[in-house]
Symmetry: D2
Subunit: 310 residues, 4 copies
């Protein structure tokens, strides 16, 4: 099936996908299939693979290609797939992005290189990257200073949006970041600049507020994507309060999963418990849950069950 | 009334107090009285003043003394008062800590100096500070790497607990930090080391889980301290699930207020709306709420009202 | 004697002055007199007090005023004196800056608040600070990301130079930073913007190259200010190579003293050996030289003596 | 020829090698041969490839293997070759390290993963890495906090030295770092722990002082390795002052080349001028020299020529 490309109007919930491993650390491609089916059943609008949660930097190049191929094959055009392409070297970044597009990706996600400081440094990096990717590769800007250390100003985003039509989406993860959304939307609302898609990350921790400020959905790996889907659906159907009611029921587990690093292991464990992957293995270096952590998770999940039942 | 000193068994909710200002930026000492009455009415176990939320670094030394004197006078021994004493110079730190104790403080809170890196560097700093403060000044260790950049290992805490009896309390704000609590408690539970009081910060974002792992309460400035009090009371009465039910109702506003920097202004604004302070003024440099931010807060507080009513 | 204010044309060597202490940590105001005489005898063009080397953050407000008064009294208008006024609170910053000017300072030096990230954040901070200081207080911008973490772009400096005539001087300490000098000078050379004074820091580690790129001198605490004076004098007299010959003789000790933190103690020790201060005491927290460090310094200073004799 | 493995007694100058590129960014393997011949003619004791200067993170895996193969083939056992093996994923790290050893490397160099904070975190990372590399792969610990942000305490190094015989060498680049050398040597001198080889980095900026404190040589990419060789030779022959005389002549250019980031381009440009590589191309993202930078380099190199002639 022909790939659907992402664009400035892309909406909904793009789920950030883990890379499933076997207990011995090898790739578990069967679990890729299970994950895809699980996510499709939960109603996601799209997929994002080979990002941080995908442990992309711990894969060999061959493994990356295998994981990408398997995801693309199983999804089979049913939904757009964004592929993480960040790379310390721009040649490698561009080569892999082109490979991904050739394989059927809907676009690529790139984060700015750690260490960039001033507005001009951030802009110059993207000027090269977006130019070299070229007009045919739609790009999602991963704006995640908590891991990259790069703080991207609204002014830089405006300059890039004006100069590069292939910049079509922002994965918004700066935190606190509500005002940033408002400032971006104010500019496009007044016609001063192009409107791009904004999907929020950080597990969706502030999703209801972010929707009210004008985002188009979420791109995150929260292990209950059906909640994110329901929240977005209700919100876009005009029921902001109903959306937030759904959200609040899941908030205790969401804020638990949202702990940086540690929450990564929580997320894989929940996906395992939900049957979406065979094991919760994380490659070294990475977090591991202790028996005490697992017991705590039991308690939290039992509370979630009661809340959903109640 | 004689001051009550904090010690290893101190429990409950110590509220982190803001410093109230007038709209012109001057001290609003009348609001100190209102705040004290407000907090006492909400049932707090103690007070912590002149910390980050107290904008201590933006006060003149004379203002610091005025604020401290007013808090101590109004509280008048009804509850213990911890005074923030962090300082880039150790002479100043020790002098101010002694002044605070002489004025009736129950102990002082100190954070490690930004820039300390290795275990030995962190230990050496505290070795000097705790020695110079001496055995008669009970110390609360503010462990808040998000603002200090100093990550304190469990090993360093164990060494300090063994060496310095005046280290009686940990304000635990490392995040993620659940495992740190468990490791500290495991050691004292097995009798390998002294047990100290642990009160958690970060707005109480993970308070139910932290209580289950053995903390003694919270020390934070969440603008609804009655929730923290109710959660601790229920938990210590044996009703962990009931405690968490109370907590969950407030979680949406808590996680909104918990945004670093921005949330500081949210907190003062809620306290103003609740009548605890006259204005939400924050001294420069500091965050300010926009009309859009205030509208968002209206919505969130309306939801809280409905949740509490429901 | 009437104070000389610094301005856009200020040139030469402004020496960054330590605060001398007694061995018991108390102020040593007699050594302030000795230091002033020492520096005047070495031919400095001006003084900068109460900066990092002045351990300003470890002084009480009363001590700061005493140190400032003693420096100003001994210098007695013979040279301009810049006073460090950085402060986490803007009210305190402005109050102290006005006090310093009233006492006879030639201007104040301010560094941007740690934690500022984007161009707009840096600009907004300075907009408030420079506005509130007002047109009558000449300001030196301390651009020292190694300690503040704030990287100031050339674009922000241009905006500030255009908007605030009281910004008259840059203490340039970003490293690497040669290109920054060239970009600043290119703009004023072509008449696009106002030219301000640029004095370089970092011990003067790249002073000959910086002079060739257009700076007006140095503002640093290198313990042999006569070298900096000679280098600038020769360079401005047209003898760039001769200036660099003088520089190179001192480079081994300069690069030794230029070690961040550690070099601070080296500098005070050299000043002590040269008779400029009574003891090399640094207040806690601060670096201390071990016997091995002192022996190493013996060797390096012996080499310097031989080089100067040869 | 059989590979020589590095060990605790390895001494001398290991040169950090760049990866030469063509002007179009492709690999320039012919220049690898020229570089090897150049370095051998300058008398280096060994080579280190695929490190930071080798732009390892910007190569494809195939390119890495090509570069390694070409270096190993040209050196042909004449000198030991250390191969950089740092990797965000430990599986990839171990696999590549084994490949390198199979290809004829003398050992691997690994830096700790960025983000590690406490002593226990640093130790735990290395415990896994050194265990998995196993006893047959000699490891050089790259201790370079300026780029990794990881500060390794002396205590952690002692623990690792005691536990892992395959840790045979420290590439010492913490700065300031003279005391760290002394503390490491004091322990092995008193027989409390195993003595490992210490080679210093940072361009050799403090090499004479570091040799006097007990290091075994340098591992750095300074573009005049013959100076490093001469300094080490004279020092180990008992002529410490003569060694430092040689050093001081090159110090002006060394401190210019030692500027982080920028100096990387200076280094490649000097190697190009010396005929060691065909072009100074650096892959994106990376520093570039402007005409003004090149003119400055002309002046500095002319001064060096005069100093060496004089």
């Amino acid at each position: 099936m022909a790939a659907q490309l992402i664009n400035e109007s892309t909406k909904g919930v793009f789920v950030i996908c883990p890379t499933p491993f076997l207990d011995d650390g090898g790739l578990d491609l069967d679990s890729v299939d299970r994950l895809v089916d699980f996510y499709l059943e939960k109603g996601v609008s799209g997929f994002t693979i080979l990002g941080l949660l995908g442990e992309a930097t711990k894969l060999t190049p061959d493994e990356s290609r295998s994981v990408m191929a398997r995801y693309l094959a199983r999804i089979d055009g049913a939904r757009p797939v964004i592929v993480g392409a960040s790379n310390p070297g721009t040649d490698n970044l561009v080569r892999f992005a082109n490979d991904a597009m050739d394989a059927g990706a809907a676009g690529v996600m790139v984060a700015p290189l750690p260490g960039l400081k001033t507005d001009d440094q951030v802009y110059a990096y993207w000027e090269t990257v977006l130019s070299r990717l070229g007009p045919d590769i739609p790009v999602c800007y991963q704006d995640y200073p908590q891991t990259t250390t790069v703080v991207t100003s609204v002014a830089v985003l405006h300059r890039l949006i004006d100069a590069f039509p292939n910049l079509v989406m922002l994965k918004h993860e700066e935190s606190p970041g509500l005002t940033k959304i408002t400032r971006l939307r104010e500019r496009s609302d007044t016609g001063e600049g192009r409107r791009i898609s904004i999907l929020v990350g950080n597990g969706g921790l502030h999703l209801p507020q972010e929707l009210r400020r004008g985002v188009d959905g979420a791109m995150t790996g929260f292990a209950y994507p059906e909640m994110l889907v329901a929240v977005c659906d209700r919100f876009f159907a005009g029921d902001a309060e109903g959306a937030e009611d759904v959200f609040d029921a899941y908030l205790p587990i969401l804020r638990h999963e949202q702990q940086l690093g540690f929450g990564f292991a929580v997320r894989k464990e929940i996906l395992r418990r939900r049957g979406a992957i065979a094991t919760a293995h994380v490659r070294h270096p990475g977090p591991k849950l202790s028996p005490r952590d697992l017991q705590e998770l039991d308690e939290l999940l039992a509370r979630l069950d009661r809340a959903l039942a109640g």
